[in-house]
Amino acid sequence: MHIRKSYLLLGSVTIWIALARLLHGKNTLQIATYENTSFTSFIGEKALALRGNRTHSGAFIYFFNPIRAVIDGFVQFIRNLIAVPAPGGLIPIIGWFGVVALVAFVVFATSQWRTALLSVALLMACGALGMWQFTMDSIAMTLASVILSLAIGIPLGIWAGLSDRVLKILTPFLDLAQILPTLVYMAPIALVFMIGAASATIATMIYAIPISIRITSHAIRNLNQSPVEASTSMGSTQKQTLKKVQIPMAKQMIVLGINQTVMAAVSFVVIAALIGAPGLGKPVISALIIRNVGQGFVAGFAVVFLAILMDRSTSAAAKRQESFIPPTPKKIKMKRFTLIGTGIAAVVSVFLSRTILWAAVWPTSINIAPQVEKITNNATQWILDNLSIFTVDFKDFISYAFLNPLESILSASPWYVTVAMIVALALIIGGVRTAILAFVLAMCIVVSGLWYESMLTLTQTILGTALTMIIGISLGIWTGRNDRVERILRPFLDAGQTLPAFVYLVPMLGLFGPTRFTAIATGIVYSIPIVVKIVAEGIRAVPHSLVEAATAAGSTTRQIITKVQLPAAKKTILLATNQGLIYVLAVVVIGGFVGAGGLGYLVIVGNSKPELQGKGLIAGAAILLLGVIFDRIMQAGARRSA
């Protein structure tokens, strides 16, 4: 059965290549970028009408505009606290010293003094980079969207954890939200809620809420059921069971959900600037404009610091619940005293930051930004001067050997051949239902009129994912087998995941020029961390007994990897591939900035040219459709192989 499937796959790919050769250049559905199909111009007109309606349509006056006003007000309130002066004032309500003290206190109270110290250091580092106000703006935006996301996500998650029907209704939405590339739905949101903090907050919430729902419901569902049953049998009401048993037991997992929600919000910090949100994204984007790599990195580092701060403080809060040894009364007393002491200190610091100038405004004399800027600029210049000979050759090699042939199969052959072949692959890998879904969604893309661009994007995504997997699996195996490598690699992986792509776009351009490969390389950098993490996890999860048995039988390291660990982790690796593809697809829009064309370019151009607005919106939808098709095929494949 297994062998037959791979023969089938090989056979259909061969037929595909043959047909593509035979019918090269026919029915490719290519249209010029400035041309609209009747469908895209219809959508464009609707979008334009929507803009015109904003001031007098009921939906806006009674629904969208109030939502915007409330969220805007909420964000503005938090910003006034820590980031910007309230109207009529010169400083925010709490000065920098007060913010540092409060953060230190909160982190100390919820986790431990070491994390508190780290948080203070990271905050001060952001200030020293000359990014204090931008950092505060980002924290304000993050806080606002996290609070709102949790207010919706945790109750819904608990509900979905208790009721199968709710979970069933929510699941498709949760799946969709995970695939949806963030840069894609910003345009429609800005269309309805206008640019600004509110739109950015809502965009962040769309990204973050599904994560908190998923983890919360998972936490409630995977509880040890015996205490729950005991509670019910003792006559507790459902509400009592939930409050006294289920939620306290699921607490640690729910806090982990908060951590993930916070990280999702932080990852939005830079993109949010594209729709006018305040924060660290602003200096990142303006550095891109003047192509000052160093300046971009300064802001980028602040983003990374902020992400580490948020991650470590919330994950430490989750971990501290783990301890099973009850603390001695003396320890409890000690902790209580220090807590009260630090609490008072925090209140005093806030008071100071309000009344004394040095504690209110970050001292401009503490600024290491110019030095950091210079160092990174020099480093980048060195890399560009010395490496671009190799990188250009490498890019050409990949382009001629893989990119061009693949592109000619996917985009330069008739659409019906490509659709038929995608459906055939879906049938072989995922079965009838997956095939039907793939067919319907692929036809949607065809009808939308953006088939050709979709195939260009698909080509880049497939190649990007393939390269990501080659690098990601090898690094993943290495880190999975070796804890030291994991420790060394971890900061780089974290940075790769949080460092905004806009920061390294300019060096990438220097290395590869405005080409499709630049987009692919950006996608690789962005998606490798997640792949490495998942693969390493999978390798570590392989039962020790298996590995030991193989070692005892005299297997070499290579044999252990290829014959034991990889096959045992197969399902995880398939899931990692899926994640890799989704991540590469998520930054496809960024490819539009660096000469990769395709759907990403259409999304960008649709934002700035009214006549192409419809095309841009549809291009965003097409990216989503591509994502769903491949997500479903691979999920089905992973399920079947298990």
């Binding site: 600004g196 409050k243 984007i285 806030v350 490819g591 040219k609 009214p610």
Partner: protein, 320 residues
């Protein structure tokens, strides 16, 4: 929620609340100085993604802040519809330079965006080859000869034709039409950003590799690469008399750049309106400020430098 967050959380909340209340009561350093003048009001200037724009907007912002005492917000956002929407919603008041000849018409019809005259800069758009190529192939600047050299411009990405690097997304671009109308053996590659074009031109000139790309003036690349000017490829002007040739645009027309203001600013009597109405300068002015910014100067400082050197011009803008 108490089930989820324990006693300690209550304590943390209490401390934060205390801190907030205290900070609310405390006499703030705020009250010691207050300089914002109320006559001018507070206005928001759109900041678009190119350095030339930054130069113009920053000069206006500095004058408004220092001379008129206005409260100025500078909001970074996409040009075009996004900005017009923001103007309609009242979050943006000034666009100091718009290239999109009339793309704002839907908004001006509704009265939410108002044209505030030309800003003095004239946008010239064209296709340019890397300057070294002109020395080697003198006839390359005539569009009729481009096909002869098309194979030089071939790259891994251009599908066997010459690679034609098109301008950034928001800009007026007619490359596909030009290639078709002039029957050129080139493939249009959407370079996607100003950064991509700058890196393309500078690398091509440094390594003596062939490159043809979209360029515009005023643009700071011309300050850094003055001989780029001679790389301008001349296309036949659009001929509308013959129906057949009129089907495709053959070259870019020159564009006088427009200032746009919000209805709110248009209706006001603020001195800021006078400043925006009168603001007018040359391509050379803009280039000099933009070059300083690209050279690493803070936009505020670069703008101030120009203002200090042109006090008389600033005076006329202020209507003094």
């Amino acid at each position: 929620m108490k089930a989820l967050f324990g006693r300690r959380s209550v304590f943390v909340t209490v401390v934060i609340a205390a801190a907030l209340i205290l900070s609310g009561c405390a006499k703030s350093v705020n009250s010691s100085s207050g300089t914002t003048s109320k006559d001018c009001g507070s206005w928001a200037i759109a900041m678009h993604a190119w350095t030339g724009y930054t130069a113009s907007a920053q000069v206006v912002a500095e004058i408004a802040k220092k001379e008129l005492g206005c409260t100025i917000t500078q909001t970074t956002l996409d040009e075009g519809p996004t900005t017009y929407d923001a103007m309609e919603a009242g979050t943006i008041d000034v666009v100091i330079e718009d290239w999109g000849g009339g793309r704002w018409s839907d908004w001006t019809k509704r009265g939410s965006v108002v044209e505030a005259g030309l800003n003095g800069n004239v946008g010239l758009i064209g296709m340019y080859v890397a300057p070294w190529m002109v020395d080697k192939y003198p006839d390359i600047t005539d569009s009729k000869n481009l096909n002869k050299y098309a194979s030089l411009f071939k790259t891994a990405d251009s599908g066997g034709k010459g690679a034609w690097y098109e301008g950034p997304p928001g800009y007026t671009t007619i490359g596909e039409k030009m290639v078709a109308a002039n029957k050129l053996n080139f493939k249009v590659i959407f370079s996607g950003s100003e950064a991509a074009l700058v890196s393309g031109f500078t690398k091509a000139e440094a390594n003596k590799t062939p490159f043809i790309g979209y360029a515009w003036q005023p643009w700071t690349l011309f300050a850094k690469m003055p001989n780029l000017e001679k790389g301008h490829v001349h296309f036949p002007a659009n001929d509308w008399t013959d129906a057949k040739t009129a089907s495709g645009l053959t070259d870019y027309p020159s564009t006088p750049l427009m200032k746009l203001i919000s209805k709110k600013l248009n209706d006001s009597t603020s001195a800021f309106k006078t400043l925006v109405d009168n603001f007018k300068w040359t391509n050379a002015d803009q280039n000099s400020v933009a070059a300083d910014i690209e050279g690493g100067m803070k936009p505020e400082a670069a703008a101030q430098k120009w203002i200090d050197a042109h006090a008389d011009v600033v005076k006329t803008w202020l209507g003094k």
